[in-house]
């Protein structure tokens, strides 16, 4: 009850502004259309312009925006004393963190739906893998939101959006969204595969191309493992910043 009301509040506070919704949904949809148009006009365009290849990457980009918004929302609540008011109440740390995480899940689902529907309209082949891909995207969304909690806990209202933008750039590069990781070279590639983002995008791509869940076991392990770690770090940084 308490948790749900706070979740509702965070959802409203974060996304009642239409601009935020437009930015976080229209922007990725625009990239989808753009990349698709490049692929059509140039039959020799590399794989990366293929819908089944590109959509999972764009979904990672979407979730990067969630990190940014989450960071901004929390940093603002901290700095403008709203959080102070809640910290006086009998809520527990876990209530706070969950309320922020849960608030972004509907937004993440909305983003995924927008990308998939656009993809299907543009000619993405619908298969079970496309539907099952939520099994990767949900923990990925939770990871990104949890990192937003870290950023919102540690940085100011002014710094959090900048950190968030940087984060979007970094994870999309390391996720192999804009170019094949092979092009980035050995060191980058190795770093990329030590983090969950490239694994998540790979898993999405495999599923979209018809792979079964069994074939993405390793990627899932990376994504879920990091998901738990990031939530843990999120809780810890929130607790650290709000301790008496």
């Amino acid at each position: 009850m308490k948790l749900l009301s706070l979740t509702g509040r965070n959802l409203k506070e974060g996304f009642r502004d239409p601009i935020v919704v437009i930015l976080s949904v229209a922007q990725p949809v625009f990239y989808l259309i753009l990349f698709n148009s490049i692929a059509r006009s140039d039959p020799a365009a590399p794989d990366i312009f293929d819908l089944a290849y590109f959509i999972p990457g764009i979904i990672l980009f979407c979730f990067g925006l969630l990190t940014l918004f989450m960071g901004l929302l929390l940093a603002r609540d901290r700095q403008r004393a709203f959080l102070t008011r809640l910290l006086v109440s009998p809520l527990r740390t876990i209530d706070f963190v969950l309320s922020y995480l849960l608030a972004l899940i509907p937004m993440a689902l909305f983003q995924v739906a927008a990308c998939l529907i656009t993809g299907l309209i543009l000619g993405l082949a619908l298969n079970w893998g496309v539907l099952f891909s939520l099994i990767v995207f949900i923990p990925l969304a939770v990871s990104c939101t949890a990192l937003g909690i870290v950023s919102g806990s540690l940085f100011s209202e002014n710094a959090a959006p900048a950190i968030g933008s940087l984060f979007v750039v970094v994870i999309t590069f390391l996720g192999g969204v804009w170019m094949d990781l092979g092009i980035l070279g050995g060191l980058f590639e190795r770093i990329a595969y030590l983090l969950p983002f490239a694994h998540a995008v790979d898993a999405g791509r495999l599923l979209f191309q018809g792979a079964s869940l069994g074939e993405i076991g390793i990627q899932l392990a990376w994504v879920y493992g990091y998901g738990i770690l990031f939530v843990f770090i999120g809780v810890a940084s929130f607790r650290w910043k709000t301790r008496p």
Partner: protein
């Protein structure tokens, strides 16, 4: 209540409460204070005196570096969870959710404190009414004026119906009418809720509080009812008279009665611990004085405040 509080004990018991920021900066320095159940207590003090820091410690937001406090028998360090259930705070900074409307802000606060949806709605409507925000209740509060935000800020501390209220400068930024109506509201809590409020406005402390404390550089430098403080610390009443025929003989007689009699152009200023109005007027008349104008001034809390905080009064003090 069981196990924590026994009737007759202070509602808020502050024991050597201290907060040191960095080495040597004592924001609150060995504060000892008891606030009775149902009492309205005002904490007055200049900027940086330690008022907000005290409230933060009492509301379990900030850990004291020494000492502690009990709220209805619950220790703020050992038992913050129990303290939080029975208190609420109206922070000095306006703390509202800007994209929500006023009603949503209030309902949220009710639910966070465990009220049912129905009860939270009821409390929200009641406080929208009290704070005169009903007609604007559905608008996002980012469109509110400063005064409206302040009223909402206070209302958000009230919906949970706390036993103990900490109000950090509740009326700052309000116009005279809103301020008076908030005074009336806070006054209505007397006997029902225990209230600790901080303020820079001396008339506010004077009008509202059962007792007040003056804090300066983290230390409590005066404590009592406003009457007691006036009597103890300022002392002198002042009478000013303008009139014709204020002769030296009269001044001589007055000087035998009152410690200070100061003539000025066309008039006299008389100071004394207790000036008896009729006595002075009769005396003046009997000596043939025609009184044109006369005023009596009680010692003001202002004077006392300036005296003990060493003139550290800031512009914002009305």
């Amino acid at each position: 209540m069981k196990g924590f509080y026994e009737e007759g004990q202070p509602a808020v018991l502050i024991k050597n409460l201290t907060r040191e920021f960095g080495r040597g900066l004592f924001a609150v320095d060995n504060l000892d204070l008891e606030i009775k159940k149902g009492e309205i207590f005002a904490l007055l003090g200049p900027n940086g005196a330690g008022k907000t820091t005290s409230i933060k410690m009492l509301s379990c937001l900030l850990r004291p570096t020494a000492g502690t406090a009990e709220v209805f028998g619950r220790d703020i360090i050992k038992n913050p969870g129990e303290v939080k259930k029975i208190i609420n705070v109206s922070p000095q900074e306006t703390a509202v959710s800007l994209n929500l409307n006023a009603r949503e802000n209030l309902v949220l606060m009710g639910k966070v404190y465990g009220l049912s949806q129905k009860m939270a709605r009821k409390q929200a409507e009641k406080h929208l009414e009290i704070m005169d925000l009903k007609t604007r209740a559905g608008e996002p509060v980012k469109r509110f004026s400063g005064g409206m935000l302040r009223r909402l800020n206070l209302a958000m501390a009230l919906v949970s119906n706390p036993k103990v209220l900490f109000l950090d400068e509740p009326t700052i930024g309000l116009d005279a009418k809103s301020r008076r109506s908030l005074w009336k509201l806070i006054d209505s809590f007397r006997g029902e809720k225990t209230v600790l409020l901080t303020t820079h406005y001396l008339e506010e402390a004077d009008a509202l509080s059962d007792r007040l404390g003056i804090i300066d550089k983290g230390k409590l430098v005066a404590l009592g009812t406003s009457e007691e403080l006036k009597r103890k610390l300022a002392g002198l009443q002042t009478m000013k008279v303008r009139g014709d025929n204020l002769n030296p003989e009269l001044i001589q007689i007055l000087r035998e009665i009152y410690p200070e009699v100061i003539p000025f152009e066309g008039g006299l200023e008389i100071k004394g611990e207790k000036i008896i109005f009729d006595e002075v007027v009769d005396l003046l008349r009997s000596k043939g004085v025609r009184i044109n104008w006369l005023s009596m001034e009680e010692p003001s809390l202002d004077e006392i405040y300036l005296k003990i905080t060493g003139g550290g009064k800031q512009n914002e003090i009305a």
